[in-house]
Structure formats: structure tokens, C-alpha cells
């Protein structure tokens, strides 16, 4: 009764404080959901390949810079336990060089270079409109990319000043794949002046083979290469950690702003209600009861603000994804929502702690004299 009425007394201030927390929590949820979504997309992509291992150039900071020579690919094929090697190339094409660019949200097109008829291409058969590509002048395009570029099966898409016939439109639950295209590796090799080298190799192992033995066999002979389990891909590349750090730094700033909002609200509330606090103490309220009253007000702001933040965070992330350039995805977990809510509660608690302590220390005599 008292808690709610005290907060409703200064509705605008309470609302602003509540929004401060909500925005802080919303930014944590939204940024984390997008960052996790990105990692989850990569994990899904790796699992979707069906390969157990991936070989990349150890020195490359990111997979798009990786180069593996023809000789190294031939060597990998001879390693005991390897059933099949699918070499691949990978590049990202700027959206501005594509047709219909003004209408599109496609800021970039992920280009996957593959060998026609290879095992790695087989997965696109499921649900494809048209057929798999077979020649250098043919391509398959993801459904999202096709929609954004306003092209369809049978159309021609010009890339690198070369026309490619769209022979298949595929679907994928991996957003950056759905917003990408697949064509012959030789095209990418030519355009990026890669010669006969490839970017990475997907390895399919024979049944019962320990991937670590394969890794050791490859890395001991080809010191330039790193052989990793496809499940560990997101952990292997350090730059993905930067995303996490960026997310948490931005979130932390938002959270601090939210916490200061609660602190300010509760300090003002205590200052304005000094005389009332004096009255409560005079009629027998203990310091602890006054402390709990102010803390409860802070916590109520944080509970409502936290719930609002969870809603705004999920709604905001989805809106962001909807309007953002193609390729981004979101992923939520119960733990992320719990974390967001716990952070909101902490903000309310710690934001109100000092004002509550200050209120509880007020001398009833002095407080009653307060004008």
C-alpha cells in the first residue's frame, strides 16, 4: 500500500526511472540475443554441413582470409581416417555492386564456392526450387537473397561483371546462408586470385575414427594448418569473443545509467519525504522497517522495469533483425532472461540501498523539523 502509493506520487519520475532500468535490461537482452544468434547460426551451419572436422589456415585471423594450397588439400585426402574432403572457398560481396541495390536490405552477399556434385552441396537438395548448380556459369541463391535482390529461378544475376544463371533457389534456417549464394569454387578462386588454393576444407571421417588422431596427423605434417572439430568452430576464432565483450560493455553502460536512475529517484524520494520518514520513526517504525520500505520501492521499480526490459529486449531484437541488413539472427535462452531479470533486481536493490540506509539513519527529531 505504502510502497505503491509512494511510487505513484511522482509518476513521471518513477516512470523515467523504470524506463531507465527497462532500457538497460532491454539492451542486454537484445545485444546478447543477436550475438548468440550469430554464433548459433555458425554452429547450425557447421552441423548442417555434416562434416566432423574443418581445416583452415592457422595464421588466418578469420575464415575468409584462410588459404590452403592444392598440395595441402591432396595431403589431407591421404590422412588415415579421412573418408572425404570437401574443399570450399568463401567470400563476402558488397551489396552495392549487386543489381536492384537501392531496393534491397542486402548489404552484403555471402558467396560460398563449392565443387559441383560434391557432398557438401548435397544438403541443398532438400526443399530446393530448381536444381543444384553443375557448371561455372550457374549459381544457386538463398531464398532471402533472392527476395531482396528481386530475382527468381531462371533469372540471371551479374556478379564480378559475369552473368550467372540462377538454377536453384534454396532454403536454409541459417540466416547468412539464406542471404547468400553458392557457385563454383573456381569462380571465387579466379576473382580472388587464389590460384588453385582453397579457403577451407570440410572433412568427413570414416566411422569410429577419433577426430583428435586425424587432427594430430594433419597438424604434425602441415604446420600451417589447423584442424578443428566443427562443434568448436565458434570457440576457435577469437574475434567472436570481441562480439561478446562489445555486447557486455554496451550493456554495462546501459545498466549503469539505469542504476543511476534508481539511485537518483530514491535519493529524491527520501529527501522529499524526510518529514514523513520522521513521522514513521516517531510512531514506532524501526530503522529496519524504514530501510525495507525504501528498498522495497526500489525493488518494485526494478521488477516492473525488468519485466518491461525483457519484453522490450526480445521485441526490440526481433524488430532490429527485421529492419537490419540480412544475415543476422537472434537466439534467446531461459538463462539469458533470468540473467536480465536478476540484473534488474540488483539495480533496484543497489540503487535503493544508499538512499534506504540514509533514510534509516535519519534522526526522528531532526526529520520532523525538516521543512
Amino acid at each position: 500500500m505504502l510502497i505503491l502509493k509512494n511510487l505513484l506520487r511522482r509518476r513521471t519520475r518513477t516512470l523515467l526511472s523504470l524506463l531507465g532500468i527497462a532500457i538497460g535490461i532491454a539492451s542486454i537482452i537484445a545485444f546478447n540475443a543477436v550475438a548468440r544468434g550469430f554464433k548459433a547460426s555458425i554452429d547450425r551451419y557447421m552441423q548442417g554441413s555434416g562434416a566432423q572436422m574443418l581445416v583452415v589456415n592457422r595464421s588466418a585471423m578469420a575464415p575468409e582470409y584462410s588459404r590452403i594450397s592444392r598440395e595441402e588439400v591432396d595431403f589431407i585426402k591421404t590422412v588415415q581416417g579421412v573418408d572425404h574432403v570437401s574443399p570450399g572457398t568463401f567470400t563476402i560481396l558488397a551489396g552495392r555492386v549487386l543489381q536492384n541495390v537501392k531496393k534491397t536490405k542486402l548489404k552484403f552477399l555471402t558467396v560460398f564456392g563449392r565443387t559441383p556434385g560434391d557432398r557438401l552441396v548435397e544438403k541443398f537438395k532438400v526443399g530446393i526450387e530448381g536444381r543444384l548448380f553443375q557448371a561455372e556459369d550457374e549459381m544457386m541463391i538463398g531464398a532471402d537473397a533472392a527476395r531482396d535482390l528481386d530475382v527468381k529461378l531462371g533469372d540471371t544475376l551479374t556478379m564480378y561483371a559475369v552473368p550467372f544463371k540462377i538454377v536453384g533457389v534454396y532454403h536454409s534456417d541459417v540466416k547468412f546462408e539464406a542471404a547468400g549464394c553458392v557457385l563454383s569454387s573456381t569462380v571465387v578462386q579466379k576473382q580472388l586470385a587464389m590460384g588453385t588454393s582453397v579457403g577451407l576444407c570440410f572433412l568427413y571421417l570414416k566411422d569410429g575414427v577419433d577426430w583428435k588422431q586425424v587432427r594430430d596427423a594433419i597438424e604434425s605434417k602441415a604446420v600451417n594448418l589447423a584442424a578443428i572439430n566443427t562443434r568448436d568452430f565458434t570457440q576457435y576464432y577469437d574475434q567472436l569473443d570481441y562480439i561478446d565483450w562489445f555486447v557486455w560493455i554496451v550493456s554495462l553502460i546501459s545498466v549503469i545509467v539505469g542504476g543511476l536512475g534508481v539511485l537518483n529517484t530514491m535519493l529524491m524520494a527520501v529527501s522529499e519525504r524526510t518529514r514523513e520518514i520522521g513521522t514513521l520513526r516517531a510512531v514506532g517504525w524501526s530503522r529496519g522497517q524504514v530501510l525495507r520500505l525504501i528498498l522495497a520501492e526500489g525493488l518494485l521499480i526494478s521488477v516492473v522495469g525488468g519485466c518491461l526490459g525483457l519484453f522490450l529486449g526480445t521485441f526490440g531484437a526481433e524488430t532490429l533483425i527485421h529492419w537490419a541488413p540480412r544475415g543476422l539472427d537472434t537466439r534467446y535462452s531461459g538463462w539469458l532472461l533470468v540473467q536480465g531479470f536478476l540484473i534488474a533486481l540488483s539495480l533496484g536493490f543497489f540503487g535503493a540501498l544508499y538512499p534506504a540506509w540514509q533514510a534509516s539513519r535519519l534522526s526522528p527529531i531532526e526529520a520532523l523539523k525538516y521543512e
Binding site: 502509493k5 513521522t279 514513521l280 520513526r281 510512531v283 514506532g284
Partner: protein
Amino acid sequence: MNDVTIRTIDLVKRYPGADITALAGVSIDVARGQFFCIMGPSGSGKSTFLNMIGALDTPTSGDVILNGRPLSQERNLDAVRAKEVGFIFQLHNLLPTLTSIENVEIPMMALGVPRRERRQRAIELLGSVGLSHRLDSIATRLSGGERQRVSIARALANRPAVILGDEPTGDVDSKTGEQIMACIHEARKQSGATLVVVTHNPDIAKGADRTLHMKDGVLQ
């Protein structure tokens, strides 16, 4: 001893920083159920004295024995205030966002009285001060006299042994002041509480069982 509700023993209050002696050794007994009035000019120390016997402030030396309990030995003065004392302030000091009932419930919340019991008691008390028709009115919408009557009901909430009034009619006109004092007397009669009032107003003192004057921290 049982007939004495308030006993002060050589009560002294000094404010060292300001070099002021607000009370200079006050010793007095107030009998149970008595209406005791203290008059005196501003700054004479009468409010300080009231705060001492109401466990709101502690003396520099001396002691207050309230309802048989020496306050110097009490570890929890909050509980003493909640159980033994009912305050009526000059400016009523109601919580502005709360209704009459809620304001009367406040002291009972200090003692953890269950909600239903609190509400029932508050309704009874407000009825006894003639405010049955203002139970759910927000404090700021009440007249000065009505506010003070709510504060009388609040003072009686925990059935205190002592009711302390600090200029209880100081903020209302004389006619309303008479009504308020009548209300306080009726409440005292029904509760059997001891009433101590500090005031400038000689009309209030007329109805007192005992009146003393205070000057420079000394009762005369």
C-alpha cells in the same frame, strides 16, 4: 509506583556544539490517567521535555521511567514509542498520499498487527473521533480539523499508556481547537491514557489536572 505513568529523574539535555542547555534537571511524576499541561514560551524546553518522555530523544543525563520501564535501559526505543506512546503533532504529520484509515494503520504496522485487525481498529478509532464519513479520504483532501482528528485516532492506534500533544491546536482556529481538545479529552477518557500537552494556549490548560510552567529548561 503503579499510579505513576511518567517519572522523570533529574532530566538534563545539553547541546554541546551550540552550548545550549535545553533541560536543566527536570524531575516530575505524572499520575496514570492525568491530564498534565506544560506551558511556556518558545525555546523554554517544553518540546524537548516532551520528546524525552516520548522516547524520541535521549537525555544527556537523568532518566525517564515510562509506565514502570526506565528508558535508559531500553534497547529498543522504537518499540517503546510504538507500544507506549501516542503522538499528536502541531502539524498533524499525516502521510499525504494515504487515506484516513491507512494513516491510522501506520503505527499498527510498526507492531506487525495483521491487516484485517488493523483496518477494523482504524475504522473504530476514526468513528470515535467523528470521521466515519471520511474513512477513505486522502489526507490532503481533509480540513485542518479533520486532519488533526485523524492524528488523534492514529495516536490511539496501539492503545498507548501515554498520549503526548505538542501544540495540538496550534495550527487551527480557536473554535476548531476547542473541538479538537474535546476530542482528545474524550479519547483520553475512553482509553484511560495519561495525557501530556505542551502549549502556549491558556484555554487548553484550563481543563488540565495539573499545569506547570517551564522556563529556561526548568519546571516552575
